[in-house]
Amino acid sequence: MAVGKTGRRPWAHLAGKRSRRDVLKLAGALGISLPYAAFLAACGGTEPIEELGQSTATAPTATSDAAPEPSAGQGGTISVGLWQEPESLTWATGGASFAERAVLLTLHEPLLRVGPNNTLEPGLLEEVPTVENGGISADGTVITIKLKPNLRWSDGEPLTIEDYVFTHEKVVDPNTAATQLLGWDKIASIETPDELTAVITLAEPYAPFVNVTMASWFGGLFPKHILGDGRDIRTEFGRAPIGTGPFKFVEWQAGSHITVERNEHYHRGPAKLDRIVFKIMPDRNTVVAQVKNGDIDLAYDLTEAQIPELQDIEGLTLYTTPGTTVERYFFNFRNPENLHEPHPVLSDVRVRKAIVMAIDRQEIVDTLLYGRTEVAVNELGTTPYFNDSLTPLPYDPEQAKALLDEAGWVPGSDGIREKDGRRLSLLHITTAGNALREQMQVVVQQYLKDVGIEMTIQNYRPAELWAGCDSNGIAAQGKWDLAGWAETIPGIDPDISLFWSTDQVVDCQTNPSGYSSWGYSNPEVDRLLAEQARTIDPEKRAEIIRQVQQVLHDDVNAIWLYYRLDIIAASSRLQGIQPTPFGGSFWNTGDWFLSS
């Protein structure tokens, strides 16, 4: 019974489930039909996602009607709805939520920022360090950076290279208990020949260094003149920071709002808007109601399920950008009963391939995600490092069955396949309470049943799922067969060692802090990943990254579902927003303006 062919949707029964969105719809239905007099064709973000695989420029063209610089576009206050409250307004000590990154980018100009085409451009630095311009030594161990002259902190104090040296000291200081150390711990020494230049020596060649320590929302500096007195970076500075961004901090009322206003010392010239008020509204539905109502000008970090109710609203522009967060199901490569052995079912690549081919991922994207994104190939699919010769495995239940037959799994009396007395039954875990994930789980369960695979379901709250080894973390202990959640590459660098190299495999006895609870291990992949980290030449490194992707793809390393969307709904009066997969949506808030 081929589900896709008969057109019967295996999740038809889910229609009976009432989500909050349905409640809102119902509430809407109680009113008189909306005055959809003219829905704006300009409702933005309807970018051609088909191009995603080929093109690196995935910025929506919504506001690209040659947005003229209006003289009337100066000034004004906008309010932004956030459904999460930031934890601390410094990149080094915060929780790295989407909400936090948004506020951080208005307050802290990074050393380098990610421009509209996913390319690095100078931020506080004079230029992007490369081998050609001498910023990176040929062996990759010495990086020279030079600050722009006459930079100032938002309180008017001059910014010098001493602040960079100080930032390094603070980040690696155990007392700071930094949440973001990546790359900073590779620094062996820093010399400062003059007050704008730093010569950074690394302990070993580390190709991702510039990407992971200088760019995007984690590339800001700490002011030595403020923090030099030893005040606590999280609680004191993190609640009232001084930065270098287009806006400066005004106030943070816990649970209510964070206000920032134009920083007159911003080195690109003052921002066009006067101030931005980030309103904290813990319920995404409330955020949506307020942006529809015009009570707030921008709603950030929305879900795919909210697209339909937002896309046809007059005066509202919807931006949907596939980001670097990719929803996937991991295969457990180790035996849940004994993690030192390979998985009795899933270590066979034919079974993994059959599972992927049994799932109509396009159908899932088209229905559950309203066709707004596309089926993922791997975690680099939206980045310039993507190996674009790769395509998702097709949906082909017949071939899936053939592969399972070939692997020795034959249907038993109840239709579920068996081999050597073992039923082909797999346990799937995901985060409890995420409606979309839970719906998708049921859909996949049905697809797998159609090819003779039984899938059982057990979900856990994030605090249980990702708990450490000491707290009996579900993922870390590996007592599962398939696990679904999203991962994001760390920053804007294509180094995927964290996910796929053997030394990251979690072992509660020997390597409790490893990252890969799925236990993937492949000597060829290890070799290539080690090599790319040492390869300084960007072209050669990109080539190795493409090779790794090929090897992992052939090995069917995961069930890649889709590229998660970065969704913004903004008042159409608010212009200048240019979301990019790498740089996010808030990288250029200084250029945002209100049209009249």
Binding site: R20, V23, L24, L30, G31, L34, P35, T77, E87, G95, P174, A177, A178, T179, Q180, L181, L182, D185, V212, F218, R234, T235, G238, R239, Q253, A254, G255, S256, H257, T259, K279, I280, M281, P282, D283, N285, T286, A289, Q290, K292, N293, D295, R461, P462, A463, E464, W466, A467, G468, D470, S471, G473, A476, W485, E487, T488, G491, F499, S513, Y515
Partner: protein, 321 residues
Amino acid sequence: MVRYIVRRLLQSIPLLIGITIVAFALIHVSGDPMAVYNNNPRMSPEAKAAIAAKYGFDKPLYMQYFVWVSRVIQGDFGYSFSTFEPVSKMIGERLPNSLILMGAAFCITLLVAIPFGIYSAVKQYSWGDHLITGLAFVAFALPTFWLGLLAIMLFSVKFKQWGLPNLPAGGMYDVSVGKTFGQVAQHLILPASVLGLVSAATYIRHLRASLLEVISQDYVRTARAKGLSERKVIYRHAIKNAMIPVVTLAMMDIPWLFAGALITEQVFAWPGMGRLFWEHAVKVDYPVLMGILVIVSSLVVLCNLLADILYAVLDPRIRFA
């Protein structure tokens, strides 16, 4: 009486200690505060170890409990693991907001419940009684988040589209105007009404049942027999006794004035205690959770005692030994 109160207060100490032990254990069963870092690809193992050491997660659980208790006895609720602020400061910021919301809701509850409850009992089985009890059942059965979203949809979104005067959808005040009395009052209307009306349903049912029981008693019949007007019978004689269960209910609701309303605060973006609890429960941030639990459970114990004392005031038949 004084002996009774002292005895009850002393009894409550082991009770509170028991509550904290159970709560502490339950919070730890619910997850790992480090989980948020374990899923962060930019966290190195050294960074995780530094955080665990700084906040004492590397110590055994009973040690973590003793450290927490010895601090609380000295009046220090510790620091949040996620915002790193003092818990007392965080609670101090949220508590007044919850008191405003819950206090307003409580007033609405009483203002609605007392007249309607009395009417419902006095005119039992009348058309009005059926309407009131029917509506009370509906309100009782409705989930508050649903009612809240419905209210937002109607009174702020639709009313605005229809060009009618409308209410703000969430928050405590308009940041551009500031935290003025008028602003807070305006933002208070929807959440306080939703909360107040839902809990009025419970009060109406209790008051109606209790008043009906009292009305059928001998002393009320006596009052009627001696020729008092129905008005005097109800308001002077029946009401006082009928209020006893309602007073219990109200006393038991007082701790919730401090605890806030989890769901309603969430839906209406009201920065109160309920939201504080929920946001930090997700992160297994136990200093914050325990701080709130200690305050609320102490209030529950205290209000139980107050309710018992009030019984004696309202009902002279009750004596404490």
